[in-house]
C-alpha cells in the first residue's frame, strides 16, 4: 500500500510540472506587456516597472524565479491589485468557493447515487425511464443556462429564494448556487450508478446473499453498494474538475465573491500573474484530489494495488 501511494505521488510530479510550464509559457508568450493598456509611460518608468517585476530578465531565469517562489508557496504580486499578492487574493476568496464546491459534491453524491440505485432496482419501469430522462437533460443543459432560469422562476417570479448572494446573509443564499452546481453531477452520477448497480446486482455473490433470505434493501446496503460505487469513485476526479469549472460560472451569475469570480475578473483585466496563479492553484488542486481518489481506490479495491 505504501509503495502504491509513493508511486502515485511520484507520478503526479511530471503532471504538475507540465501544468506550470504550459501556463507560464502561455502567459509570457502573450503579445505586449501587462502594463500596455495604460497611458503611454516615459521609457524610464517603463524600464523601472519591468525591473520591479523582473520582466527584464531572460525567460528561463524568470521561470526559475517563479518556480522557486512556487516551491516556497509564493505566487508573486498581482499586476492589477497593486497592494495585494496573489496569495492574499486566493487565500481570501478560496474558502467560500471550497464551501460551495464541497456542498455541491456532497449533494451530487447522495442524490446521484440514490437516484441511480432506485433506477437500477426498478430497471425498465416508468420510474427508471423518468430518472434516466431527467439525467440526460441534466447532462445536456449547461450550468449557465440552468442557473439563470432557476433564478428567473424560483427567485424573481416566485420569491422563494434570494436571487443574488448579497441580498441576504442567511443560509438560503446557498441553495440556488449549490443546486445549480450539483445538477449536472447528480445527473452523471445517477447514470454511472445505475449502470454499475445493474451489473453488480447480476453477480453470483448477490444471488447468494438473496438466497440466504436477505431483503432487497439489506442486500443493496451491505453487499451491492460498495462494489457499485467504484466507477463513481473513479469519476470523482473529473467531477471535481467540472465543479471547479462550474463554480466560475455560478459565482459570476450569483455574484459570489469566490475564486471563480476573481479568475474571470483577472482574465478580463489581463491580470496575468493572478490568472497564472489561479490556474496553477486549481491545477495543483485537481492533480492532488485525483491523487487522493487514486489512493482511495487502492484502499477500497485491493485488486488495483497489485497492478
Amino acid at each position: 500500500m505504501l509503495r502504491y501511494t509513493l508511486l502515485r505521488l511520484l507520478g503526479a510530479i511530471p503532471t504538475l510540472l507540465l501544468v506550470i510550464v504550459l501556463a507560464f509559457l502561455m502567459v509570457h508568450a502573450a503579445p505586449g506587456g501587462p502594463f500596455d493598456a495604460e497611458r503611454a509611460l516615459p521609457p524610464d518608468i517603463e524600464a523601472n516597472i519591468a525591473r520591479a517585476y523582473h520582466l527584464d530578465e531572460p525567460l528561463p531565469k524568470q521561470f526559475l524565479r517563479y518556480l522557486s517562489g512556487l516551491l516556497q508557496g509564493d505566487l508573486g504580486p498581482s499586476y492589477r491589485f497593486r497592494d495585494h499578492t496573489v496569495n492574499d487574493l486566493i487565500g481570501g476568496a478560496f474558502p467560500l468557493s471550497m464551501k460551495l464546491g464541497a456542498m455541491a459534491m456532497a449533494l451530487a453524491l447522495v442524490l446521484g447515487a440514490g437516484a441511480g440505485t432506485v433506477a437500477a432496482l426498478r430497471q425498465d419501469t416508468l420510474l427508471d425511464r423518468v430518472v434516466m430522462g431527467f439525467s440526460m437533460t441534466g447532462i445536456s443543459i449547461p450550468v449557465f443556462v440552468v442557473a439563470p432560469i432557476l433564478v428567473l422562476f424560483l427567485a424573481v417570479q416566485l420569491h422563494w429564494l434570494p436571487a443574488g448572494w448579497s441580498s441576504t446573509t442567511g443560509t438560503s443564499r446557498f441553495v440556488l448556487p449549490v443546486v445549480t452546481l450539483a445538477l449536472p453531477q447528480i445527473a452523471y452520477i445517477a447514470r454511472l450508478t445505475r449502470a454499475s448497480m445493474i451489473d453488480v446486482l447480476g453477480r453470483d455473490f448477490i444471488r447468494t446473499a438473496r438466497a440466504q433470505g436477505l431483503g432487497t434493501m439489506t442486500v443493496v446496503r451491505l453487499h451491492a453498494l460498495k462494489p457499485a460505487m467504484l466507477p463513481v469513485l473513479s469519476y470523482m476526479g473529473p467531477a471535481i474538475a467540472a465543479i471547479l469549472t462550474g463554480s466560475v460560472v455560478v459565482e459570476e451569475i450569483f455574484g459570489i465573491p469566490g475564486l471563480g469570480q476573481f479568475f474571470v475578473r483577472g482574465a478580463l483585466n489581463r491580470d496575468y500573474t493572478l490568472v497564472l496563479g489561479i490556474v496553477v492553484f486549481y491545477a495543483s488542486l485537481i492533480v492532488l484530489l485525483n491523487l487522493v481518489v487514486d489512493i482511495l481506490y487502492g484502499v477500497i479495491d485491493p485488486r488495483v494495488r497489485r497492478r
Binding site: 445536456s140 449547461p142 428567473l152 460560472v249 486549481y282
Partner: protein, 273 residues
C-alpha cells in the same frame, strides 16, 4: 438496428437537420438583419404581426435573426473544432497503436498526463493572452478534445494491425505511413463517426462557456452562449431574451448527445448500453 431505423438517431438527427436548415434559411424569411438597431422597439416581446418572431434585444436588434446567426456560429465552431480534434486524435492514436511497444507506452503516458490537466483553464488562459479570434477558438477547443479520440483509435488500431490485410500490405512492401493512412484509417470510420458526434456537444459547451464569460465570440457577431449571456442581464423584464437562446442551446446539446448514443448502438456492437 440500422442507421435510419434507430429511434433516437432518427429523432435527434431530424431535429438537428431542421434546426440547421432554419438557421441557414430562416433569416431570409425575416425583413430584419442582425445589425440594425431600432430604438423605437427596445426589448419588444415576440410577435408575428411585426415579424419579430423572437422579439428584440436591448439595442432593438432582431433576436430571431441574431439567434439564427448564433446557431450558425455555434455549430460552425463546434464542427470545425471537432474536425481538428479528429485529425489530431486519429493521427496520434493510429500511430501509437500501429507502432506499438515502447513508443505506444510513452505516447499513451502523455495522454494520461494530459487527462489530468484542467484544460478549460488553459483555454481561458489562451483567450486572455492572445487576440480573441475565431481561428484560435477552433484550434483551442480542438486541441482540448482529442484525447478520447486518440485512446479509442489506438485501441482499434492495436487489433486491426494483427489482421491479414495489414500483414499482406506489409509483405508486399507498403510503407508504414501508407499502411496507417490507407489501410488502417478507413477501417476506423465507424467508431470515429460516433466519437466525433459525441465531441461536438463538448465543443459547443466550451465555446458557449467562453462566449458566456465574454471571452469567446465578440460583438457584433454572436453565438448561443453570447446570447444567453446577454439574456441573463435582461431576464427580469424580458425573459424571452434568455429563454429562447437558452432553450435552443439545450435542445441542440441534447440532440447531439442522443444522436451520439444512438450511433454508438448502431456502429459499436461491443458497447451495449
Amino acid at each position: 438496428m440500422s442507421l435510419l431505423t434507430h429511434p433516437s438517431v432518427r429523432t435527434s438527427g431530424g431535429i438537428l437537420l431542421f434546426v440547421a436548415l432554419v438557421a441557414l434559411l430562416g433569416p431570409l424569411l425575416s425583413p430584419n438583419d442582425y445589425l440594425t438597431t431600432n430604438f423605437d422597439a427596445l426589448l419588444s416581446p415576440p410577435s408575428f404581426g411585426s415579424a419579430r418572431f423572437f422579439g428584440t434585444d436591448d439595442l432593438g436588434r432582431d433576436l430571431f435573426v441574431r439567434t439564427m446567426l448564433g446557431i450558425r456560429v455555434t455549430l460552425l465552431v463546434a464542427i470545425v473544432a471537432s474536425l481538428v480534434s479528429l485529425v489530431i486524435g486519429v493521427a496520434y492514436g493510429a500511430i501509437a497503436g500501429y507502432v506499438g511497444g515502447r513508443v505506444d507506452a510513452a505516447m499513451m503516458r502523455v495522454v494520461d498526463t494530459l487527462y489530468a490537466l484542467p484544460f478549460i483553464f488553459f483555454v481561458i488562459l489562451l483567450m486572455v493572452a492572445f487576440e480573441r479570434n475565431f481561428l484560435l477558438i477552433f484550434v483551442a477547443i480542438g486541441a482540448v478534445n482529442w484525447l478520447d479520440m486518440a485512446r479509442i483509435v489506438r485501441g482499434q488500431t492495436l487489433s486491426l494491425r494483427e489482421r491479414e490485410f495489414v500483414a499482406a500490405a506489409r509483405l508486399i512492401g507498403v510503407s508504414p505511413v501508407r499502411i496507417v493512412f490507407r489501410h488502417i484509417a478507413p477501417n476506423l470510420i465507424g467508431i470515429v463517426v460516433v466519437y466525433v458526434t459525441l465531441t461536438i456537444p463538448q465543443a459547443i459547451l466550451v465555446e458557449s462557456f467562453l462566449s458566456f464569460l465574454g471571452l469567446g465570440v465578440q460583438e457584433p457577431q454572436t453565438s448561443l452562449g453570447a446570447l444567453v449571456d446577454a439574456g441573463v442581464n435582461q431576464m427580469e423584464g424580458a425573459p424571452w431574451t434568455l429563454l429562447i437562446p437558452g432553450g435552443l442551446l439545450a435542445l441542440v446539446l441534447m440532440c447531439f448527445n442522443f444522436l451520439g448514443d444512438g450511433l454508438r448502438d448502431v456502429f459499436d456492437a461491443r458497447h451495449v448500453s
